[in-house]
Assembly symmetry: C2
């Protein structure tokens, strides 16, 4: 049985009309002799509205109840999409995360899928039915509803594609694919036909927004081919797959910027073993993802440690650090949330020296100061002032235009 | 452990302010050394909005998906109420119908509770936690979400009270209790301090709206004392309990009218055994509740059968009857939906003849024609033209005023 998993984002199911169009597209795929499993997000701004409701009740909603609340958004979507398919004369069955057998750990709001019991989905597919699964949610071993956090529906789709050994996971969204830069800001940005998991991972982590890094990581781990394409037209989008199977490796595939970050500096850290482990261990326990870390030796025996995190986590990070023994940060904790990260990404970068230097030169020519630098084999990222982020992306796209073409 | 089950209707949790007030009331009850289980309906008009959404997708939504959709309404409420209790520093846990162990049959949209696995609720109560359960919903043995239909949250509350052996089931609503007639229409209507299950059952069936008959039936079956009272004030409401424990039995306790009915007449029914069984068997299979049945012998060997049903079921009933062999209703099927039922109810009626005659006299004096009559030991009902229903209730309240006082 040829199985394809499709995922429709919130904007693709935002209205009744769109839901009906999505239903038609699902039925068309099913008619191509394909078993179809569809993962659906909450309609349009539903999740935001539910979040606002929770916060109108209390500033700090209990995480378990927060998940109970948010999970209703996707449940509404799957019911309506299934009704719309049914109205087209095709049989479909909706499943909540729990009913779809998506088991997670206990971390409410940011749960990780631990296993998927596919029996029920496989049974329905074998009966010739289309299966519509609520994205973003699962159930822990105590039978409590959990949510997977940001990008959760992508993760659901990829995890299901892996568990069901699907041929492909289509991510249907409101853009035509993955671009070399944000097409809303860079006129010359162009759609990539294909890109490797690693490149996509870097771009996703860097705020390209099309795919959540967790889902790309999962796709890479299980070798699930992704097809990122528009739900509003039938044009081919971008295929995300193994690097070895790419037709050509570009030196620079894309340029991304992420304005939603903050830099936290822990000042006056004593220079003895285990300090960094304590600091980042505490942050990890608080489920705060740290991105770039820089340690400066200021004066003898005293260090400053700076790191970047999602801006949403800044308050939580500071609160977590303040709970550490006082001598760990004798100089205090400082947050700078007026920064952005701009990055260039390309699988061909490894074999071509001087790419990083070219990036620093392009930023310098634009008069943009670099605060922190971080590199990987296929990426160079710079932390700069947020109000220069758009200028930086433009300058970099110009500088690497010949590579991107 | 002293357990009290409270049920809050949709209007009691319609806004954030009301949810916070409900939370305060729950915590106050818990502070009285009481284990509290709360059943909550969907907020305000939520269910209506979800129904409208389903019907904007398709005229005849699939019942399984309809339940999947509607169940989200209560899920939102339980999460928000639990958050509000948590904000008051008290520990609460929300449970969907499935999580609360409420198992039903497979009749989507009108499911019947078959059993309740109380282990999880009892465990939470033993841990000192308040338990907030989604009303109106359960889960069938296939793990599909079901809804209980109209009055479902009352039924959930009473069933839980029975299963948990609760001391009392409080039904908190937007009225002060059960009245001798609709207080919005009859100025002299007065609140009853207590009423028997049977009287309440008749009044509930007759459209008194305060309690759904299914929940009263269940309360009677398991001997659960109900306290119907306002969620907006702390005044005592109406206790519904065993007739033997009532302080006094009134001849007439209440007067009710139900405008939401229709009369279906099956004309030209052959006069042979088994015909009525076929007709009403088919209706029962279609899950249509029939109320009053009248059979007239018109001419030799040919009968007309008329019956009343909920107006919502009228189309469904006609469709069901049209599927019967043609000779069963040679004269066709006629629907009259311009009718209403007015009734007088009283446990003391049994021992006092002439009550029915008094009712007919009062209606005749008002110039109101009686179309059908139905009586039980504690009730007399008349089918009349709907546009005279209010006049009828006024006239009857005046006629039986001394009994009601």
């Amino acid at each position: 049985m040829r199985i394809i998993v499709q995922k429709y984002g919130g904007s693709s199911v935002a209205t009744v009309k769109r839901i009906q169009r999505v239903a038609k597209r699902i039925v068309e795929l099913k008619d191509q002799n394909t078993a179809v499993v569809v993962v659906v997000s909450a309609m349009g701004k539903t999740t935001d509205k539910l979040v606002a409701k929770a916060h109108s009740i209390t500033e700090q909603p209990k995480v378990r109840e927060y998940d109970m609340l948010l999970a209703t958004g996707e449940q509404v979507s799957i019911a309506l999409v299934t009704m719309a398919i049914d109205a087209l004369g095709c049989e479909a069955v909706s499943l909540t995360g729990a009913q779809a057998g998506i088991i997670t750990d206990n971390v409410h709001g940011k749960a990780t899928i631990s296993e998927i019991h596919t029996e029920r989905i496989m049974k329905l597919l074998n009966e010739g039915k289309i299966v519509i699964v609520a994205g973003f949610q699962g159930v822990n071993l105590e039978d409590d509803i959990t949510t997977l956090g940001r990008g959760g529906s992508d993760t659901t789709a990829v995890a299901l594609a892996a568990a069901l050994k699907a041929e492909l996971c289509e991510i249907l969204t409101d853009v035509d694919g993955v671009y070399s830069a944000d097409p809303n800001k860079i006129d010359s940005a162009r759609k990539l036909d294909e890109i490797s998991y690693d490149e996509m991972l870097e771009l996703a982590s860097l705020g390209a927004k099309v795919l959540h890094p967790r889902s790309v990581e999962l796709a890479k781990e299980y070798g699930v081919d992704l097809h990122v394409r528009s739900s509003f037209n039938m044009r081919e989008g971008t295929i995300v797959k193994e690097e070895e199977t790419l037709e050509k490796k570009r030196i620079v595939s894309g340029i991304a910027s992420d304005p939603k970050i903050a830099k936290v500096s822990v000042l006056g850290v004593p220079d003895r073993p285990g300090i960094a482990a304590t600091i980042f261990g505490a942050l990890a326990e608080a489920h705060i993802n740290v991105d770039i870390i820089v340690q400066n030796v200021n004066r003898e025996g005293i260090n400053d440690i700076s790191f970047t995190i999602s801006r949403d986590d800044a308050d939580h990070a500071v609160a977590t650090l303040k709970k550490l023994p006082q001598d760990m940060c004798a100089g205090g904790v400082v947050v700078d949330d007026k920064i952005a990260k701009v990055s260039i990404v390309g699988a061909g970068m490894i074999s071509r020296p001087g790419v990083a230097a070219g990036m620093f030169r392009a930023l310098a020519d634009e008069g943009i100061n670099i605060d922190m630098i971080s590199t990987s084999e296929i990426r160079v990222s710079c932390i700069i002032a947020r109000n220069r982020a758009d200028d930086a992306v433009s300058a970099l796209h110009r500088a690497f235009e010949s590579d991107l073409a």
